[in-house]
């Protein structure tokens, strides 16, 4: 299994490189000019100098290789330096000095970090600030969705065509069909405006340090998480029901009943464990949709995650930021796919990858 995981990780490198190339070509072909917002009184030769300062003068392949170097060599170097010099966990390690910042005092080789055109600050710093919010919301949405969907799926399959099953199928169908940009505003109107239970805006500066602030944090997370979770719940419970139905007809279930096991043990131990295997694949299939949904959720609830940063950067034609954020979305999706495939192999002993 370890060799399989390593092989998948190694194989994902060309995939990711290709995706990076696709995104880069898209941005290259795009006619947007980052100098469009500069006042017309600025003379053209100055504008040309500004373009070159942004790194736009170089030919496309040089720009691409430069971006790759910045993303895969310089930024990790900065990160390792930060780990060994300032972070509290790894400060006991010997200080590294992999990154030499450029400046008037530096002679010879120096490393240029990737800079955002909007703020002139390093892109990765902005990403690191915003990534946790997105991961928290998406991750919690997954957990909540699993907790809701698995029992619904089990019970509707066990009592197929019962009233509960019909209602469950209808509700999951609705969850499947109602888009997050409709449920989001609807929840805001109901729960923040009429009832005033939850805040409609996600406050990222909020610090959790005691019980009361934790309650505030939970309150502000409920609505964005539920909007995302509704979609995932619908998919997972449909899949869970189908998978349970398949397994309930199998011979081993009859054997288990025949040898006198309790109904609870038959369903919850034998059938459930076998049905969960197939459900794991849904995680991978749903991931791109969920990250798309998270962009909308972040927009609706004003969570400043990476989806929100992407939209802001797009409207400001901030190319390095757009490129990096889209690529990070791609990395997250590819990693989730690998995780699901590996889990599939771990859970199902019939599947041997080696």
């Amino acid at each position: 299994m370890l060799t399989y995981t390593i092989r998948r990780l190694v194989l994902s490198v060309p995939t990711l490189l290709f995706i990076a190339l696709v995104i880069f070509m898209l941005l290259q072909l795009a006619p947007g000019d980052p100098m469009a917002q500069v006042p017309l009184t600025v003379p053209p030769e100055v504008k040309q100098k500004m373009r070159e300062a942004l790194g736009l003068g170089a030919p496309a392949h040089i720009q691409f290789i430069k971006w790759l170097k910045q993303f895969f060599i310089i930024e990790p170097a900065v990160f390792i330096d930060w780990l060994t010099n300032t972070s509290s966990w790894f400060r006991w390690l010997p200080n590294t000095d992999l990154y030499t910042p450029c400046g008037p005092a530096v002679e010879g080789d120096c490393d240029l970090r990737m800079l955002s055109w909007q703020t002139r600050s390093p892109v990765m710093d902005l990403v690191i600030q915003r990534l946790p919010q997105t991961l928290w919301v998406v991750g919690l949405a997954y957990v909540v969705a699993f907790l809701i969907a698995i029992p619904i799926g089990i019970y509707s399959a066990y009592k197929q065509y019962s009233a509960f099953d019909q209602a469950g199928t209808f509700i999951t169908m609705i969850g499947f069909s109602v888009p997050p940009f409709f449920t989001g505003p609807l929840l805001i109107v109901i729960f923040s405006v009429y009832y005033g239970w939850f805040p409609s805006i996600y406050d990222t500066t909020h610090v959790v340090n005691d019980w009361d602030s934790l309650v505030v944090q939970i309150k502000q997370m409920i609505m964005p998480v539920m909007v995302l979770a509704l979609q995932i719940t619908a998919q997972i419970s449909r899949f869970m029901r189908a998978s349970m139905l398949d397994n309930l007809k199998q011979d081993y279930v009859r054997t288990a009943r025949a040898k006198g096991l309790s109904e609870f043990a038959v369903v919850m131990v034998h059938v459930l464990r076998n049905s969960m295997i197939a459900v794991v694949t849904v995680i991978a299939l749903a991931i791109p949709g969920i990250f798309g949904g998270s962009i909308i959720t972040e927009k609706v609830f004003k969570v400043n995650g990476i989806g929100d940063a992407l939209i802001g950067a797009l409207f400001a034609s901030d190319m390095p930021m757009v490129m990096t954020l889209t690529f990070i979305f791609a990395i997250l999706i590819v990693l989730a796919n690998i995780f699901a495939d590996v889990m599939y192999g771990v859970l199902d002993p019939r599947i041997r990858y080696d």
Partner: protein, 323 residues
């Protein structure tokens, strides 16, 4: 001399035999059993006809500004609030600029559904082509399936956002009007990024079909590959294609609305359901109906399409049919 054989009474047919049912009738019978699918199909037909011909009946220009008649509430508000500003001349109310709500819903629905249908057809075409090619030609299988896997791991919505924002301007100039340019762009990007599931299903079916005897017979009769694909393989994979078409339609409608909602869709004076919803969000506490009406329209259409797909899948599957 031959005597006419008269069967004994118990064996006599006293009623004519039921005529043989064609495959189409079988499918229709099974489809009719699925209540949700019937409702879904009916609603989809209704909404399609409404947006196509509604403008002929309700002849109000959706873009006409009438500032004196602004902020009308929908007619049903009068049921519980007799002081509300309502009127039969604006059954769905008007917005803050006095544009008629019903006319906007019709015009918006036409755009949303047109984008949905066109993007779905494009993705079906691409998906079926890639699927058949990968399944039929062994040499193409590896590369095409790698390509499919690659597209499956693309971050779709971020890429759509990037493409639509960046290519808006040149396409507008290329197609003359901003609407036409935007339509081609949105349909193109949705179609190009959503064919993968169809391709996988079609490939799987073609792989199995190609080993069957009738394909072998066709090949020994000298049929070309093109003939085998168009005459023998495509008609046999039509049912998975139809089923994935319905789900493709649903996703395309939602994706277009999401783009409009995020503010990168059609130009601002051109209504779509997603755009109407996005424009109404800042005032949704005073005028919730302006969010709810387009939102419900999108949700019901997608719900109808999903139910239709469920029913079609059951009806087209001969193993379930007849039970």
């Amino acid at each position: 001399m031959t005597e006419e054989i008269i069967p004994i009474e118990a064996l006599q047919d006293n009623a004519p035999l039921a005529p043989h049912r064609s495959q189409g009738q079988e499918i229709w019978l099974q489809f009719r059993q699925h209540k949700g699918a019937m409702f879904g199909g009916g609603f989809l037909l209704f909404i399609t006809l409404a947006v196509l011909f509604g403008a002929l009946i309700w002849q109000v220009d959706p873009g006409k500004l009438d500032i004196r008649a602004k902020n009308f509430r929908p007619i049903y508000t009068a049921l519980w609030d007799s002081t509300a500003k309502t009127g039969w001349n604006h059954p769905f109310g008007t917005d803050q600029l006095g544009r008629d709500g019903l006319a906007n819903m019709i015009a918006g629905g036409r755009t949303s559904l047109a984008v949905g249908w066109a993007a779905m057809l494009l993705s079906l075409f691409l998906g079926a082509m890639v699927g058949v090619m990968a399944g039929y030609f062994k040499k193409l299988d590896g590369p095409l399936m790698r390509l499919t896997d690659l597209f499956l791991s693309l971050p779709i919505l971020p890429l759509l956002l990037v493409a639509v924002t960046l290519f808006r301007q040149p396409l507008r100039t290329a197609f003359g009007s901003p609407e036409a340019g935007m339509f081609v762009l949105i349909v193109g990007v949705i179609g190009i990024t959503s064919w993968m599931h169809t391709a996988r299903i079609v490939r799987g079916d073609v792989l199995a079909l190609k080993e069957r005897e009738f394909v072998l017979a066709a090949r020994s009769a000298g049929t070309t590959s093109r003939g085998i694909i168009t005459r023998h393989l495509l008609p046999n994979v039509i049912s998975p294609i139809v089923v994935s078409a319905t789900f493709g339609l649903a996703t395309a409608i939602i994706t277009e609305s999401s783009l409009s909602f995020l503010g990168v869709g059609f130009p601002s004076d051109f209504p779509t359901w997603g755009k109407m919803l996005a424009d109404a969000v800042p005032r949704m506490t005073e005028y919730p109906e302006r969010v709810v009406l387009p939102g419900v329209a999108i949700s019901l259409t997608v719900l109808a399409v999903n139910y239709l797909g469920d029913g079609l899948r059951d009806a087209l599957d001969p193993r379930i049919r007849g039970r």
